[in-house]
């Protein structure tokens, strides 16, 4: 066993990794189930273990706003939030990305109110997919940690300069003790150069940030953000490869599992993948040719890579913890858009499950796969719906 493996709560693992990334300013507002992350960081600041200043913001909106100021001043910045907090940040999310400030934030995924629900799903971050932030989704706590230095490296790249959300499922990951290797500080130093932005608020070189832009120039700003997001695809891949070389742990924009000879591909994001992998192993023992395509990078959405992996497979089943009310669901809709007009694409089924913390078991996955095979399900629906209470 690796000497560096520790058994840590997900939130503590995140806080410990944030420390190695050496942010100058952390600003946050407490909200379940993000609280343990910021409590742990606050304690590290209080103990002098991390040389950051921790701003106790009056709201999530103010938390991100303080980071906008700090990042524009040249500080490396970090926050974490979830659900209602992310929704309250909505306006500032677009502002941070529009000013090209490379803020990194752990989004602990949780359901949105009403009805009030503090448990996990991914409606919050999926709902802000168009805010101009890179979005990476972690399958387990090791990945949630490792994505942080990768996020800083890409966000701060002068050809990118986009804020980044590292998304991890609330409670399921944040409150679970798992064996993790915290990235060694010396290796993070080697992997992640200090933040040295070209443009900062400085009286010696007075610049105007956040100017007012009329119809003759606004579109060009948005176009540049769009191009930076597209460019981020290769930068993330490069950063992940470098991370692999330095730390020995491999990641990709997407990943596959037992996909080689599959005639059904399951596509999903986040901690669901652990359950799905176990279900796939059992189904494989039963002779069902099913595999997995994991999406780690949801923004940028690596369309060509996805297509090349699933081309020729007969059917695809998307499991996700969000719903685009009245039209389907976020990942499903994006996949359909990405595959539209291409040849030999799988027929896509989309299933919503695990909303508001409802448990997802292997049988839910196996049952859905079986019913898709026997054509018992529509191409979109809610799994595990309690029809008796409707």
């Amino acid at each position: 066993m690796n000497d560096n493996i520790k058994i840590l709560e997900g939130s503590m693992a995140i806080a410990s990794t944030v420390k190695t990334c050496k942010p100058n300013i952390v600003s946050a507002y407490p909200i379940t189930p993000q609280t343990h992350i910021v409590e742990n960081i606050a304690k590290m600041v209080a103990d002098g273990e991390i040389k950051a200043d921790y701003i106790r913001a009056d709201s999530e909106f103010s938390a991100l706003s303080t980071l906008i100021g700090a990042s524009a001043t040249g500080a490396r910045t970090y926050s974490s939030t979830t659900s209602q907090g992310l929704a309250l940040m909505f306006e500032a999310l677009f502002n941070a990305s529009g000013m090209r400030l490379p803020i990194v934030m752990t989004v602990v995924n949780r359901a949105l109110s009403a009805p009030l629900n503090i448990w996990n799903d991914q409606q919050d971050s999926i709902s802000v997919r168009d805010a101009g932030w890179i979005q990476l989704y972690a399958e387990d706590n090791q990945e949630a940690c490792d994505l942080l230095p990768i996020a800083y490296k890409v966000a701060e790249d002068k050809e990118i300069l986009l804020p980044t959300m590292c998304c991890m499922d609330g409670f399921i990951l944040t409150h679970t003790f798992e064996p993790v290797i915290i990235p060694e500080e010396s290796l993070v130093d080697e992997f992640l150069p200090p933040f040295r932005p070209d443009f900062i608020l400085d009286p010696a070189n007075p610049l105007t940030f956040g100017a007012y832009a009329g119809p003759e120039i606004y579109t060009e700003f948005r176009y540049q953000q769009h191009n930076a997001m597209i460019k981020a695809e290769e930068k993330i891949e490069k950063a992940m490869n470098e991370f692999g070389e330095v730390f020995g742990r491999e990641y990709g924009l997407i990943d596959e599992y037992r996909l080689d000879d599959a005639d059904i591909v399951i596509i999903s994001m986040g901690s669901l993948l652990g359950t799905i992998k176990d279900a796939v192993d059992e189904m494989r023992e039963d002779g069902i040719k099913v595999g997995i395509l994991k999406i780690t990078s949801y923004r940028p959405f690596p369309k060509e890579k996805i297509y090349n992996k699933i081309k020729g497979i007969e059917k695809g089943i998307v499991f996700e913890k969000d719903v685009s009310i009245g039209t389907g669901a976020g990942l499903l809709n994006d996949l359909k858009a990405a595959l539209y007009g291409k040849k030999q694409t799988p027929f896509l089924y989309g299933f919503v499950l695990g909303l508001g913390g409802r448990d997802v078991g292997m049988n839910d996955i196996k049952d859905a796969v079986k019913k898709v095979k026997t054509l018992e399900l529509e191409d979109f629906g809610f799994i595990n719906l309690r029809k008796e209470v409707l």
């Binding site: 106790r56 709201s59 103010s62 001043t73 009286p203 956040g210 100017a211 007012y212």
Partner: protein, 289 residues
């Protein structure tokens, strides 16, 4: 010096009180500052891309977060071992209404920021809608005079008192009618560590409906009638008040402004109430003398 820090050629209305305030603020602050401004007249008239009137570093983020952005800048400067005074210059709508939460947070955290509100007493940038800084009796586009209305029916929110209640170590009011006083207060704020709040009256010819050559006269009359008392509070104690010799009746201030025209034409009760507001100010701050 302030002309190098704030260039002419901005697009503020002729006779606008705001750019006058900006020049006075910069005269007092000097160049080693970082300015944060929320959305508003100042932002849209001084920073239309690719032009900028600003010769000091300046940032605009959103309408309601200037105080929080300033906190972030100030903390970042400290951590990065750099030095500059962080100054917010914000309109009244951004300050007293939509941004008051972030402002309260900045006050409460004790961040070393000078927050300056230039007060034109309504949402002028969007077309003269009332805000909680609009004074009693003023007609605006959302508190219009009508068959059932004499205009704004609530008194002006007292933000300096709210700042004092937060324990803000330096709170002052000022009017662009008294330029040296404005500059002195900006300089005084520089000497104090912690949050500072300065509330400056900046008459608006467009929204208040007066001739553009009357800006300074009206800025003085607001003070001379007692409707806008000028004072300084340090450590919670009132230390200085601008005394008024022969305080003028409020009509002299109201009659120059279209927003009050109806009051003088036939709302006697409301005129009395406005005079009472001035009288109470005089009593509270000891203005007469």
């Amino acid at each position: 010096m302030s002309s190098q820090l704030f260039a002419p050629g901005h697009t503020a209305c002729s006779g606008c009180g705001m750019p006058i305030a900006i020049k006075l603020i910069l005269e007092g602050s000097g160049k080693d500052i970082i300015v944060v401004s929320p959305t508003g007249c100042l932002e849209v008239t001084t920073t239309r891309y690719p032009t900028s009137a600003w010769g000091v570093p300046w940032i605009h983020s959103l309408f309601e977060n200037a105080a929080a952005v300033a906190s972030g800048i100030e903390r970042a400067l400290k951590v990065l071992n750099r030095d500059a005074n962080v100054i917010v210059i914000a309109g009244d709508g951004a300050t007293v209404d939509i941004g008051i939460g972030a402002l309260s947070g900045m006050f409460e955290r004790g961040d070393n920021v000078t927050y300056i509100c230039y007060d034109n007493e309504a949402y002028m940038n969007t077309g003269v809608q009332r805000c909680s800084s609009t004074p009693y009796g003023a007609s605006t586009t959302t508190s219009p005079v009508g068959k059932l209305s004499f205009g704004e029916d609530r008194p002006k929110k007292d933000l300096p008192a709210i700042a004092v209640a937060h324990g803000v170590p330096y709170v002052a009011t000022a009017s662009i009618g008294y330029p040296k006083d404005v500059i002195r207060k900006i300089k005084r704020a520089k000497e104090i560590v912690g949050p500072k709040y300065i509330h400056i009256l900046t008459p608006c010819p467009t929204g208040w409906r007066f001739d553009e050559n009357k800006t300074i006269e009206i800025a003085k009359l607001a003070v001379e009638t007692g409707l806008f008392p000028i004072y300084e509070i340090e450590g919670g104690t009132l230390i200085k008040v601008k005394k008024i010799k022969n305080r003028k009746p409020v009509e002299e201030y109201l009659r120059l402004q279209g927003r009050y025209r109806h009051i003088l034409k036939g709302f006697k009760d409301q005129l009395e109430i406005i005079q009472e507001i001035a009288d109470k100010n005089a009593e509270k701050f000891g203005l007469d003398g």
